[in-house]
């Protein structure tokens, strides 16, 4: 499943870039994320908790940041998360690009996500809605920290 999302924030691209690459700070804006620890130069572990209906999932996530290009402010993140108790997980690759105009930065994120195991039964419509809601919360938080 492919998700395309975009947001604008009224600061230069350098600032947004620095914020997004500071994974522990950035992750504090991801709804339900906790226990972010660095495990390598560009890799991190984190736990993301999310509730869908009566079911609460705790995804243990491995995060790898790759393909960084400071000059074009583009990069990618691969996340694979698994909930051992309920048996299911997500695998996602997010590709990010930024453009700056008149001091405002526009960030575009294209995500390819696979939902695995029992969580997949919720259907991609539901999961896309949830991802959009989480993204909106993330953007509101990122804006508050950046401006």
């Amino acid at each position: 499943m492919r998700l395309e999302q975009e947001f604008q924030v009224a600061v230069p691209a350098d600032r947004v870039w620095a914020f997004l690459l500071d994974v522990p700070t950035m992750a504090a804006c991801i709804p339900g994320a906790s226990n972010v620890t660095q495990t390598g130069d560009n890799s991190y572990d984190a736990v993301v908790k999310t509730k869908i209906g009566p079911v609460t999932a705790n995804f243990g996530c491995k995060i790898v940041v790759l393909d960084l290009n400071e000059a074009t402010h583009s990069g990618a993140v691969e996340v694979s998360g698994r909930d051992g108790r309920i048996g299911g997980g997500v695998k996602a690759r997010m590709d990010m690009t930024m453009t700056e105009a008149a001091g405002e930065t526009s960030v575009r994120i294209v995500t390819d996500v696979d939902v695995l195991g029992k969580i997949g039964q919720y259907g991609h419509g539901m999961i896309a809605k949830r991802a959009d809601a989480m993204f909106d919360d993330f953007v509101a938080c990122a804006r508050a920290r950046l401006t």
């Binding site: 869908i52 009566p54 079911v55 108790r85 029992k118 419509g125």
Partner: protein, 306 residues
């Protein structure tokens, strides 16, 4: 086989949970106050058991409501309304002469749920608390203007049924609360209510479902009041208030009804999934609002009105 089983999640036994079978509402509420967070309420089990079987939920306690007689009452109120205890089964609603005669939209909705064995176990309260956005009774109850009564130890509250649905499968009922009853107001004079479901296969949940209730003014042509409930049209059951506004106070002509149907299709927010796209669901909302309105309006002459 092991891999296939694993993919469907049927390889693990259900986590053991202590079964508690209170025989009075007060006892049930006391148990919920004590165990609320770790316990789950068990009604007909038609939805909950699927979650348990798949290991998606692992409560420490199951609080069964079967033994509580007052949750099974189905009775007319002195003013001509209807009280449905949370544990009244869908089969009982479908076959009750009282429901069929005075609240046919509720019988319509109960009769199109799954299959007879599911309806004999599944309850109205369980259906609402499961808060599936494609369940049938919510749309009918929105059109009927029903309230739900929710209790916890030491108190109870009522809210319009449309306010019960907070988010996807997330009813506005806290862990120490119980849905006790559904209250349907008496049918107004010159009113009619209907529920129509559209599905692809016989046992499917609703691709879309529409509950439509209208009350005519004394002139017999102007819409004095209207309520439209939609399922399969978002992450929760919805009340189509913009469509209602198109009709309220206006003559109920075909053109107005068509405009209201378009408004409903516009204001809802259906999901795309493997069954149907968002676009198709909106189209079907439009079609089924019109059709449900026709059935409801026919019922106004059908002796349903006082």
């Amino acid at each position: 086989m092991a891999e296939v089983d694993d993919a469907f999640g049927f390889d693990e036994p259900i986590q053991p949970a202590a079964y508690l079978g209170p025989t009075s509402l007060d006892d049930a509420l006391a148990l919920l106050a004590e165990h609320g967070d770790e316990a789950k309420v068990l009604a007909g089990g038609q939805s909950l058991l699927v979650f348990l079987r798949q290991g998606l939920l692992a409560p420490s306690h199951l609080i069964g409501l079967r033994g509580i007689a007052e949750l099974r009452r189905l009775e007319a109120t002195p003013d001509g309304g209807l009280t449905v205890g949370a544990m009244v089964t869908q089969h009982t609603l479908e076959t009750s002469p009282l429901v069929q005669a005075r609240f046919p939209a509720l019988a319509d909705a109960a009769a199109v749920i799954a299959s007879p064995p599911v309806r004999r176990q599944g309850t109205l309260g369980g259906n609402l608390c499961h808060a599936d956005p494609t369940g049938d009774p919510p749309a009918a109850l929105i059109a009927l203007g029903a309230d739900v009564e929710i209790a916890r130890a030491g108190g109870s509250r009522r809210l319009p049924v449309e306010d019960l649905f907070r988010d996807y499968m997330d009813p506005a009922i806290e862990a120490d609360e119980l849905l006790v009853a559904i209250h349907v107001p008496p049918p107004a004079p010159r009113s009619g209510v209907a529920y129509l479901k559209y599905r692809l296969r016989g046992v499917d949940t609703a691709l879309v479902g529409v509950g439509f209730g209208a009350t005519l003014a004394e002139d017999g042509a102007t819409c004095a009041d209207v309520r439209i409930g939609l399922v399969g049209a978002g992450t929760t059951p919805l009340r189509a208030t913009e469509a209602e506004a198109v009709l309220r106070g206006a003559p109920l002509t075909d053109e107005r009804l068509a405009a209201a149907a378009r408004a409903a299709a516009h204001e809802c927010a259906p999901l795309s999934d493997t069954e149907a796209s968002e676009w198709y669901r909106r189209e079907m909302v439009e079609v089924f609002v019109r059709r449900a309105a026709q059935v409801a309006l026919r019922r106004i002459d059908g002796g349903n009105a006082a």
